[in-house]
């Protein structure tokens, strides 16, 4: 077997090979490790490759044998984990100098569940420092590159996970989404990424950025695998008080094809405005025509507060971040810049040397929004706008089952293109932020290619309506039948 054979594989196909005895976990792991050795010096999707432990784990699984009657769904499957999710004994840096060398003393709930399901932790993926960014250029360890074009960004902040999937360095990955960090890189790399309903996946062990917005999300090459991963990581967790007390997601929640054909799809007109690349709008309009032919109803709707959500987000998220990141003081874990002086001096030295520019910018912004005299003018206002954004969606879902929008107004941009002006980078998230502010699920799906760059389509659903969302996503994936990504890495460099 070699990597090219796996291009169109889902987890079920690997499991079939395991069941037939034609493949064993160590062999599969070796193929992915070789792929990482082959292309990751160009892509830099990984911050840490968990080679030794992964190999030991694969060997252990083989020794225990594969019990066909109760075989766990991810038995022997390697998975890449975004580096802001705590992994026992495996470095977790959030792509920050301040957590360089940090080795968590516990596993995140999602990691426990993955391991119980038989998965093998392949490594930790690159990201924007503390998930603050939309290009993975804010990593303290250097940027990740887009497998479709090495001169372009893979999106962010889960850019490492998205690039690893598109280049088939890994068959599955986890990301996290605060304002679009799963969906935008998924769109830029032509793979699938889900931001779940707030509270559907435990945040225990996810390093906090903005607690009222952060969610861990499954990322995969197909909708089918995204569902498999979501079934495993979702569901109640006593260790996260914001985790909804509901059972894990079940496939039974996904409607049948004939139900999907009866769906009414809303198109929020604010998401198809002038600022969106016309080739992205054109690609999505073709898809919509296809859906109409299949019997679905397309209806224009309005989410009038869309253009205010971005500003409100950049008040709320940095405010929460400035509070959450106060814990990095050089005392309990991570970096300490000691030397002469008092405790206060140590705090200043550690934080000043440990945090990168974007993290400092957001800490300052959040501290300002929360500071005495400005709380009413900013933070309170941000929270009020959040109410309006949520109400927009509630009204829209009275008229339709799901919404379809672009994920990003632009194609993957060039490295360095947007780093000079922070606000321009913030605009990259304009279509992913509103659903995050409302805490509702949204999925990014590749819906076509323009000049060999993928176009992401976003499906947004009401709270806990992931089943309905997957129903349409599966339908669309089948209707479009696009080839799964496997770009020739490094062959696209322009002269």
């Amino acid at each position: 077997m070699n990597l090219r054979d796996f291009r169109n594989f889902t987890i079920r196909d690997y499991q079939d090979l395991f069941a037939k005895g034609e493949l064993v976990p160590r062999e599969l792991l070796t193929i992915f490790l070789e792929r990482i050795r082959e292309v990751d010096s160009l892509l830099h999707a990984f911050l840490f490759v968990n080679e030794d432990r992964a190999f030991a784990r694969a060997q252990k699984l083989e020794e225990e044998g594969r019990d066909r009657s109760v075989c766990p769904p991810l038995w022997g499957i390697p998975i890449a984990i975004k580096d802001n999710i705590c992994t026992l004994g495996i470095p977790t840096t959030c792509a920050s100098r301040i957590l360089e060398g940090y080795i968590p003393p516990y596993n995140a709930t999602v990691i426990e569940r993955l391991e119980a399901a038989g998965a093998i932790i392949l490594g930790k993926t690159n990201m924007d420092e503390f998930a603050m960014g939309s290009s993975t250029e804010n990593s303290a360890y250097g940027p990740t590159r887009n497998p479709f074009d090495l001169e372009r960004v893979p999106g962010g902040s889960s850019g490492g996970s998205a690039a690893a999937l598109a280049s088939l360095e890994a068959p599955l990955a986890l990301g996290s989404d605060t304002g679009g960090s799963v969906r935008q890189p998924a769109a830029f790399c032509g793979i699938v990424g889900l931001r779940p309903t707030y509270g559907r996946v435990s945040r225990y062990g996810l390093v906090s950025f903005a607690s009222s917005l952060d969610q861990i999300g499954p990322m995969a090459r197909t909708v089918e695998d995204t569902i498999t991963l979501f079934e495993i990581i979702s569901g109640r967790d006593e260790r996260d008080s914001t985790c909804a007390p509901y059972p894990p997601f079940s496939r039974a929640e996904i409607p049948q094809e004939e139900e999907v054909r009866k769906m009414i799809i809303g198109l929020p007109r604010e998401y198809f405005s002038e600022g969106v690349d016309s080739r992205i709008v054109g690609t999505i309009e073709e898809v919509l025509k296809g859906l109409e032919k299949e019997g679905l109803t397309i209806r224009e709707v309005s989410l009038p507060h869309t253009s205010y959500a971005l500003e409100a987000y950049y008040i709320v998220a940095p405010s929460e971040a400035s509070s959450n990141l106060a814990r990095y003081d050089g005392v309990l874990y991570g970096l300490r810049e000691g030397g002469e002086g008092t405790l206060q001096d140590m705090y200043f030295r550690t934080r000043t040397s440990g945090f990168g520019a974007e993290v400092k910018r957001r800490i300052l912004l959040g501290t300002y929004s929360l500071s005495s005299g400005y709380y009413d003018a900013y933070y309170l206002k941000g929270m009020k706008v959040r109410t309006l954004v949520r109400q927009d969606f509630e009204r829209a879902f009275q008229e339709c089952h799901l919404l379809i929008t672009p994920v990003s107004p632009v194609f993957p941009f060039f490295l360095g293109e947007r780093t000079k002006n922070p606000y321009e980078m913030y605009l990259a998230d304009v279509f992913t932020i509103p659903s995050a502010m409302a805490g509702i699920p949204a999925l990014s799906l590749n819906c076509g290619y323009v000049d060999n760059l993928p176009v992401g389509l976003q499906i947004i659903a009401g709270p806990f309506q992931e089943g309905v969302l997957f129903g349409l996503a599966l339908f669309l994936e089948q209707m479009l039948s696009l080839p799964l990504p496997l770009p020739e890495i490094g062959q696209q460099r322009r002269s």
Partner: protein
């Protein structure tokens, strides 16, 4: 005046956030933050008088857990990876200066 942050305010905020900057860096961050805050002015177009704030999105009733201590075996690992520890304690630089009066 909201929307018009001053260099001195950014200096003060940096102190609160325990970050130090050179004058050059401070000026740069001041410009970035002024630009971003200027965009927040857009929210003044909205009438928010009677809107209740959403501090936290919860689409479900938060569960109540029994308040019982759980045995956790990880404390040795926590101390092992601390920047500076001795025995069961984290070591930090001196907190109170000798000459400082305790009131």
């Amino acid at each position: 005046m909201p929307g018009h942050v001053s260099l001195e305010e950014v200096r003060k905020i940096a102190q609160l956030a325990k970050l130090s900057f050179s004058e050059e860096e401070l000026t740069r961050f001041f410009q970035d933050i002024s630009d971003i805050i200027a965009h927040f002015e857009k929210l003044n177009e909205l009438d928010l008088e009677d809107v209740s704030p959403t501090s936290h999105i919860s689409w479900s009733q938060p569960p109540m857990n029994p308040d019982e201590p759980v045995d956790w075996q990880g404390s040795d690992l926590v101390l092992k990876h601390a920047p500076c520890a001795a025995g069961r304690y984290f070591i930090v630089p001196k907190v109170v200066e000798k000459e400082e009066k305790l009131s």
